[in-house]
């Protein structure tokens, strides 16, 4: 069963079509990298899947549960709010600018959702949170506030926060774009580890080397379309698409 199935997804902001007929799927344990120039709709795609934007049309299924499907005239018809909530808990999202809760300690950032949303006991949530923070190398920072951490540390907290809900699939929206190269390495290392553990992930990124090395599947987007999709070898080796070769040429020059 596919963990994520997107079929014919479209989305417009007014007149501007930002997503056109997007179809792809993610299998369990797969790591999918979404690459492409800025403004190509990568983030919007992620935001539609994570219910931060409403899809215009098409179909999205998460872990076999239908989230949105095409109704009459191709309009998007969403599932009832209970199903949408259920799906939300299956997905985790890591933002470009972390979006940690500044008024809570690192520990509380990680435990708040398990306690309030999953109704876990505080002790259980804290034990799990400490486990995750340890994994992120941040157990010493549990009592700190986000403003006291570096960007890389903040991003690791936000990954721990997303993992605390035990999502079946984890999405990253340019997780390293707000970080300098050194801190970027820190985050990529964490994502690599998650990949090694078999976590299903979709990562929107500008880190080409990372996409090539870690992803099982690479999706290249431009102008709201998927231009090409395939294994890293296919795209980075000798892409059939002129545009993909051109985009990646700049990267291989480095």
């Amino acid at each position: 069963m596919a963990m994520l199935e997107v079929k014919g997804l479209s989305k417009s902001f007014g007149e501007l079509k930002v997503l056109n007929d997007i179809s792809f799927s993610v299998e369990k344990g797969e790591v999918v990298a979404v690459i492409g120039p800025s403004g190509s709709g990568k983030s919007t795609l992620l935001r539609c899947i994570n219910q931060l934007e409403r899809a215009g049309g098409g179909e999205i299924d998460v872990c076999g549960v239908n989230m949105v499907k095409s109704g009459e005239k191709g309009r998007a018809v969403y599932a009832d709010s209970r199903t949408l909530r259920e799906i939300r808990l299956k997905t985790g999202l890591v933002f470009q600018n972390f979006n940690l809760f500044p008024h809570m300690t690192v520990l509380r950032n990680v435990t708040e959702a398990p306690v309030c949303v999953l109704k876990k006991s505080k002790a259980d949530a804290q034990a799990r949170a400490m486990e995750l923070l340890k994994k992120m190398g941040l157990e010493a920072k549990a009592k700190s506030y986000p403003c006291e951490l570096s960007g890389g540390q903040q991003q690791r907290v936000s990954i721990a926060r997303a993992l605390a809900l035990d999502p079946d699939i984890l999405f990253f929206d340019e997780p390293t774009s707000a970080l300098d190269p050194e801190l970027t390495g820190e985050i990529l290392k964490v994502i690599r580890e998650l990949a090694a553990e078999g976590m299903t992930m979709v990562i929107v990124t500008h880190e080409m080397a990372f996409a090539r090395d870690v992803a099982d599947k690479v999706v290249f987007m431009e102008g709201g379309y998927i231009v090409e999709m395939g294994t890293p070898q296919q795209l980075f080796g000798d892409s059939a698409s002129e545009r993909v070769r051109q985009f990646l040429a700049r990267f291989s020059d480095q």
Partner: protein, 234 residues
Amino acid sequence: MSSEQIQTLAKLMLEFIPPTMKLFGFTLLYSIPLGMVAALLKMCRFKPVSWLTNLYILIMRGTPLLLQIIVVYYSVPILRMSSGCPKWLSSVLTGVDIQSDSYMFRMVLAAFVLNYAAYFAEIFRGGIESIPKGQYEAAGALGFSRMQTFFRIILPQVFKRVIPASSNEIIILVKDTSLAYAVGYMEIMYIAKKQMSFYSSLVPLFLAGIFYFAAAAVLTLIFGYIEKKLDYYK
């Protein structure tokens, strides 16, 4: 004035501090929650509600508090005497004892609460709107309900952000309580003015001034302390 006279005067004026503080305290008690409600109504996506709230805020901020106090206070006796007043309303209003102290306090308080809620509404709205969209998105992605998001994620951050503007408003309120003397509410300014005429002296006003100054100073210290306490995050 002799020092004995000043002592007697000071003792007398002290008795007027509780009613002043009472007006101050109850105004805060009601106008802060009402202000929060008004802020949320103003941000309501259903436009007529938003417009009505806006109109209320516009009127409250657009006319003097002194005028509002007088209008609210005299509305009952004047309305019930007017010929255009519907029967049911005039019968309700006739039952009100406008001579009582409780009537006086309630009417003055109502005017203050309505006025201050409008100012607080704008402060709170500004605070709520200043919270980055990402906070809502992160909360949503983690499965928080809208209520949980507002009360657990947004409101605590709003609280910190509105402290400076609110403290300003609250310090102004201490001094604004003096406007209640216009309808005869027995607060500090009321007695100061009376004693000024009685002694033909400015000392009563000076003492009143000391009271307001001291109250404002204490509030400044309190808010400074709160701001410092909340300084642990940015």
